[in-house]
Each structure stands twice: as C-alpha cells, then as structure tokens.
Symmetry: C2
DNA sequence: CGCGACTTTGACAGATGTCAAGGCTTGTGG
DNA sequence: CCACAAGCCTTGACATCTGTCAAAGTCGCG
C-alpha cells in the first residue's frame, strides 16, 4: 500500500467514525490525489502568511499548529496525529494565519484544493463530513482552552495524556467488529507520542522545567510513564480522575455505543 | 426596522467584510426568516446536549459560549457581539457540546437550519462566506489559547480590550466610505462591554479578585478605564504594547487597506 | 432602610517561573 | 576507540505571579 493510500485510509476511518458515507463516496475519498512529502523534526511545513493550494494530510508522526506572541513565546494550538487533514480550511482561506510544524519526523500527503473542491461539489455528504470534522477540531481546541484556563499543571498534563490515549487508541484498532469480538481495551496501555518536554510545555502553556516536575509527580503517583517517545498508562482510572477527563467532547459516539454494548 | 432586519443587517455587514457577495446573495441573506427572542442576563439560551433546529444570531448585548470542568469551574471559550451568528455549526452538528449564555440582557434571532441549508444550496458563495466566518471564530479562539498559555494577567486583559475595541469599533462604523472621508479612528474611544469582573475572570482564566487587581493596574497606568458596562481607552498605543496586540488574526483585510491608504 | 450583586482591598498561601548547574544519550570526527 | 558537542532531561534554590480567604465599600432597587 502506498503512503498516499495509507494516509487516505486513515483519513477515511476518521471521517466514517462521525459521518455515514456510501461506498461510492468512500471510494472517491480513497481516490484523492496527493503527493507524499517527508518533513524533518522541528521544521515548519506551512509558514505564516504563505498562500497554499493544497491541504496536508498527516500519515506518520506528530505535527502541530502553533501561535506566537510578539516576544516570540510559542503556544501549540492543536496536535495532529496520523489521519488528520491538518488544514482543510485552507481551501477557503488560503493565507495561513497559523504555521504548521513537524514535532517529530513526519510524512504528509499534500492534497490539492482543486480535488477537495471537486469531491465536495460532486458529493455533498462528503462536504458535510469535512465540516463535521472541522467542528471536532474546534471542540478539541475549546477543551485546551478550558485546560489552560482552569486546570493546574498536573491536571493539564493528565488530561493531555488521556486525550491522546483515546485519540491514538481509537485510531490503532482495526475496526469495530474486532473490538466487539476481542473486547480489547479502547484505551491502549501505551501509545507513541514523540514530543520532547519542550513541546509539551508549548502545548500546556507551562515551562519545560515545570513539565518535568509535573511528569515526575504523575510517575511517582504510579499513573503514567513517559520516555523515548512512548507513553505508558499504568492507572487509567487514576489518570482520568486527576484530569477530570470526560471523552464526550471527542464525539466518538459509535465507540461509546460499543463500550455501552459490552457493558450491558 | 424590525429586530430581525437589524440583526441580519449586522450579520451581513460582518460577512461582507471578509467575503464578496452579489446584491442578490445579500438580499437573500436579509430575507432569512427568524424569530426574535429576549434572554435575561446570566441565562443559558442553548443548553449542553440539547438538540437544536435553529442557529442564534445576536442582535443586542453580549453572549458567550463556555465550557466547564467536572468540578464546576467555568471557562468562557468565545464572546459574541451583535452581528455574530453564534452556532452556525449546529446545522451539521445539532447536539450542542458547549452551552451558550447571555452575559447581559440580550436579544437574539433564531434562524431555522432549514433556511440556512436552503440559502447555501442555492448560493454556494454564501456557504463559503459562512465557512470563512467560522474560520475567523477559530482564529479568535486560537488567540485566546495563546493568551491563556503565554501571557500574564495584565497582558491578557489588555489583549482582550484591544480585541473588543477593534471588533466593536469595526461594527459601529457606518461604512467604509464614511471612514475614509471622516478619518475617524477605527478604534473607538469607548465601547460597550456589559460584563462583570466575574465574567472577565471566566474569559481570562483568572479569579475575580485578580481581575480586579489587574484592572486597577491598567487604570493606574492611565491606559484604560472600565465601569458601568463601558470601556474607555485612554492610551491605545500603550495598551497595544502591553498586550502585544497584532490585529491581523481578526482578518479585517479591507479595514487594513483603508488604514494603509490613509497613512499613504 | 436593608438587601443583593458587584467591586475593592489586604494578608497570606500555593503554584509556577527563572536561573543555574549537572547528567545522560547520541552522533560525529579524530 | 575516545573526545567532544548538541540536545534533552533532571534537580535545587529562589523569585514572582496568582489564588484564597476574609472583610468592607458601593450602588441600585424594592
């Protein structure tokens, strides 16, 4: 399977989690054109003010959108995992107002705007699926705002790990049937998160030093371990309690349904 | 002029700031149906999880979208001034994930989803204008995230006032020609902001006590005065410096152009 | 007049930032 | 194979910012 196909498959999986699409619509998405590109860690791949004619789909690695104050302090606005179409909105607002950077070495596929416009023109349901997806992104950002405004460091960090666990766990499972059969945990014990403590500081609005202290706190409480680009969750319940984590904002209703079904 | 017409006129003004619309498209927007409703201060008008069949257009007063932690702490995610269509996205995601509340007594117009779908079906340019507008909302939220993550209290508060000054100043002027002729300041000396210090605390991720202290700081520095629901800007330059305010994220290009023209 | 909502202030506590230093890994070049 | 540098992680001591608690002041309104 080519990198392009792999990326589009992940993207399609993400879309169909929240929107119903016919086989024809799904095929059209998988047939989208796009050029794979590799980006080194800590390199911008869309710059401030740049005019783009394509949207970027993350296939491998970790990407981020960020903002900066005039004095150069950085705040990461959104994290993008494999399967995320990072700047779908550039179709309608081609002048980027927030730059995009690779946090680890990443692989992206650049999908031309023209193709995205064409597919939404032909299949309105695909357009609505795109829109719905964009709304989820806003929902994630809103939760970050809640975290930065109203949670302490430990709670912020725990919440970040909870969100990532669900987001990547959701992505890694093969399909719904698999889960229903195996009863495998939706939340994985461990997931890849190739960010440095500097990156985490930029996500949480903290300093790297304090991220380090907070990380130690969670580790010593036996909740979570993080090293070498991986996060291992040792006590999911404890972690969600500190985080006050409620996954409903991720709008993964179908997954929720399955979870309920297994319980019942 | 009816309340409905007044609201739609403000909404149209907002849209045409960023998108070109033909006379026919503009007329279609002004002809949108909608039922005016008055909401008392501190009352929710869209509740968590509620399924809605209309979008809310703010005509008068101040509204906010907010999020809450499990322990009940509140964070305001977005402020909505007159002319804002608050939950356009509900068209595609009718289950509200973030409640809406009136901060002051407000007047809204409820526009049925059906009418919004119809107008975007008939006029694709209107649909793109809606989309572009939604992107600006995300841009505002992103700046809030930057503020909460990377600015101190004084800077946050100053930034809030700067943003509101531009947003309401932009709205209050009659039209571009007026400004070009009169050379009136785009930033008004004073603007209405009927929020209590408790509300401001919920916006900035601070406590009401600290908002009060910070407000005094700005007042004693001769930058800004706030009381009785009004904000008076005494030193715009000083305020923007403390805030590190750069209005480009508001994406008011046309206003920018005029400003440049007057300078040149 | 008294109540309620909001604002203002002070004293103190707790959380986070700042500064500085050292340790650990990894890759590079001699 | 070793020396070294660069990037990242870890830690301690201290400074600063913001939160907490408590009380009093102001204002409009019934």
């Amino acid at each position: 399977m080519s990198d392009r196909e792999r990326g589009l498959t992940l993207f399609l999986k993400r879309l169909t989690t929240r929107s119903k699409l016919t086989a024809e619509e799904q095929d059209a998405i998988l047939a989208l054109p796009g050029e794979p590109t590799e980006i080194l860690a800590n390199h911008d791949f869309v710059r401030m003010g740049e005019r783009v004619d394509h949207a970027c789909l993350v296939v491998d690695g970790l990407a981020a959108r960020f903002a900066q104050t005039a004095s150069g302090e950085r705040q990461i606005i959104a994290l993008h995992l494999p399967g995320d179409m990072v700047d779908l909105h550039s179709v309608v607002a081609p002048h980027t107002s927030l730059p995009l950077q690779a946090l680890s070495r990443i692989l992206i596929v650049r999908v031309p705007h023209a193709a995205l416009i064409a597919i939404t023109d032909q299949y309105p349901a695909v357009g609505r699926a795109f829109w719905r997806d964009a709304i989820v992104d806003v929902s994630l950002i809103s939760q970050s705002l809640l975290s930065l405004g109203r949670r302490r460091a430990a709670s912020r960090l725990a919440h970040l790990y909870c969100e990532l666990a669900v987001r990547s766990g959701h992505l890694n499972r093969n399909d719904d049937a698999d889960i229903a059969q195996s009863g495998a945990a939706i939340v994985p014990e461990a997931f890849a998160f190739p960010a440095t403590q500097y990156h985490i500081a930029d996500i949480l609005g903290l300093t790297p030093v304090h991220v380090n202290r907070t990380l130690r706190l969670l580790r010593e409480a036996g909740l979570v371990e993080a090293n070498d680009g991986w996060v291992r969750i040792l006590d999911w319940k404890g972690l969600t309690q500190i985080a006050e984590f409620d996954p409903s904002y991720l709008q993964l209703e179908r997954v929720e349904l399955h979870a309920r079904a297994r319980r019942g």
